[in-house]
Symmetry: C2
Subunit: 387 residues, 2 copies
């Protein structure tokens, strides 16, 4: 499967400024990681919308999900291979109104959209980290964001908001730095990844590892179109099915065939159904913009996500949250079922902190937090303006 | 990953008789397949329990699922790498009482437990079929079973029974040969595979194809332990997660770690959670007993399963069923949700045929049809004795 139109390795690490994206270089101020090592010369890519007020009290941190980036709103451009993932939710007059709020989003540590990750150059030898990049946790991602908050001189976020892995980061913010989070909003996420979530993640990792072109993670010298695309595409397929729902797949694709070879009555072993073409399309889009090692590491970070770790248990960890909390579930979410967001609410409320559960009624599954924006936006606006 | 204790390729095709297993050789009487080719010298491996009565009216055909085989009941032995998959349900005095019924089960066409499949020797050249083995449909599997029924001189089955892919075969029997099926019992199955089911199947196929040791399907000359085990194991992992349920995984494994390397605080990229060890264990067991090409082909057959194909639509196809029908769903089945079995019931009843829906209340997910035997057995017994 030679696909010569694919990017050269490293193309995703387009670390030149473009659009609004800015870069914070931490230089020698190393970031200490949960795994027990430190990273130096870390760069954090971020974007902002709106204006920080004089009291520096109107800042909102938005945290992105697995394959997201700092580009919450705006068109695709050189530095952002995709349009804003919350376009329509964040902007002037929108649910997160940038006439009122100063919105910040940074690419996560370990990512591949400007923030230091496995495709970045190791400061010691000028060669990409590759397999040498350490395992990252959600807490490590937050540690990098703290540096950014300090740089922006935002002492306290008016709100920290995120869906999916973004919600994991938001929870860690509210638990680790309760005095820096005035309100918390999480969507389609959990306080601790479950065994089933870990299982899905593990399958994706194994698929990438199986790809001979992954080469243990050191593939950045590969020729154009010769990276571990197939492994990454399979990993993405697994995720994509869990991000959607049975009935939406049935409505959209049914049992339609994508290609029908008359020779074998349309039942060739590799003839595709429409749903396979759809998954291919998503895999294809991802491998053009995302690094397989970042996918591996960020997926592992989600599996390792457990707010209870080192904090004397789940209840004690959640008891650290002092921020009024909005937890939103999605009715058709098979990956982060609604009981998980209800549980977050329950644990926060147990300590007398204001906690609201809101359910997005949607057929779209987990991805509804990126799709059903009016239902996402209304409770968010209410939270933001209620403080 | 060198695993020298794995079987040599072809070890699954243990075509020597053992235990009760018998073999029917079709010889030159070729089987015509949906894909448009014929297979000759087909061998069908089967087992029987109980005694066929003089009227030949007490025969029950049990159809097995994806990685099942003809060994419905009995201990593991040379010809049967696993104990009977419905041990406890089929036997003297059990729900399918072999004091009363003559029970037959055959390994499906394309399989690897004695019936002709891709690991079998091609009659033309003495080399395993490998990539030359044609795509098989569920209808083709039934075509082979018809030959077996004729051989046994069973004109009409008292019942055709199956769970999962076994249920697909049972449906095809009742639709294609209504005069040969006196009653029908299907569990955790569907009349048409959905887009989501196809998606899961496609991911598994891609994982096997990605394994360089699969070699396009022609790997039977591989050294011991050098087959496409990793690809097959990943494919099995996908299936295994869909066969179970979120809450059972949480109860059994939670977030426990299987190996904890003190060096990296238990968060190494390839350190495993317990749920991963469990999936590994299942993958490991499968690759010792199952052929990757059979896994591919049988999975494809399930994705191609559509009783409506070539029959003027679903309603017309289902209207051919004249057998009193029992359709059973499993409350926690995420792979074949209960709406699919309810729909089967509804379609059969629409034509004035007796149809009963029964639900297995179980936390175990799809696999409950192999686990919660008392709940499976009671409605089956009722059906069998009601005619």
């Amino acid at each position: 499967m030679q696909r010569t139109d694919y990017p050269a390795t490293g193309a995703w690490d387009s670390s030149q400024p473009a659009g609004r994206r800015q870069f914070l270089s931490l230089g020698e101020r190393a970031v200490a990681l949960d795994v027990g090592v430190t990273l130096r010369d870390v760069v954090i890519a971020y974007e902002t919308w709106g204006t920080l007020n004089a009291e520096r009290s109107n800042a909102i941190l938005v945290c992105h999900a697995w394959t997201g980036d700092s580009h919450v709103a705006g068109a695709a451009d050189e530095g952002h291979p995709t349009p804003g993932w919350w376009e329509g939710l964040v902007g002037p007059g929108l649910a997160i109104d940038t006439n009122e709020w100063f919105v910040v989003c940074s690419n996560v540590l370990g990512g591949c959209q400007g923030t230091t990750g496995p495709a970045s150059i190791h400061p010691d030898d000028g060669v990409p980290y590759g397999s040498r990049f350490p395992v990252i946790t959600v807490r490590d991602m937050v540690r990098a964001q703290v540096r950014l908050a300090d740089h922006l001189e935002v002492r306290r976020w008016h709100s920290v908001i995120g869906g999916s892995m973004g919600g994991m980061q938001a929870l860690e913010w509210a638990i680790t730095y309760p005095d820096r989070v005035a309100s918390l909003a999480v969507i389609g996420t959990c306080a601790q990844s479950t065994a089933q979530q870990i299982a899905w993640g593990a399958i994706g990792r194994r698929a990438i590892r199986l790809d001979p072109k992954w080469r243990g993670g050191d593939y950045y010298d590969a020729a154009i179109g010769d990276g571990p695309w197939e492994g990454l595409a399979i990993a993405r397929m697994v995720a994509q099915v869990t991000f959607r729902s049975d009935n939406v797949f049935t409505d959209r694709f049914g049992r339609d065939l994508a290609d029908m070879d008359a020779e074998n009555n349309g039942i060739g072993l590799w003839d595709k159904f429409e749903v396979e073409r759809y998954l291919d399309h998503h895999g294809d889009r991802l491998i053009r913009r995302f690094d397989a090692n970042s996918y591996l590491l960020i997926g592992k970070a989600m599996d390792l996500h457990d707010v209870a770790r080192g904090r004397g248990g789940l209840e004690k960890a959640m008891a650290r949250i002092t921020a009024p909390t909005l937890a939103m579930g999605i009715s058709s979410d098979i990956l982060y079922p609604v009981y998980q967001q209800r549980h977050i609410c329950e644990l926060v409320a147990r300590n007398g902190v204001r906690a609201q559960y809101a359910e997005i009624s949607s057929p779209h599954g987990h991805d509804a937090f990126l799709i059903d924006l009016p239902q996402v936006g209304a409770p968010l606006t209410k939270l933001l303006t209620s403080l």
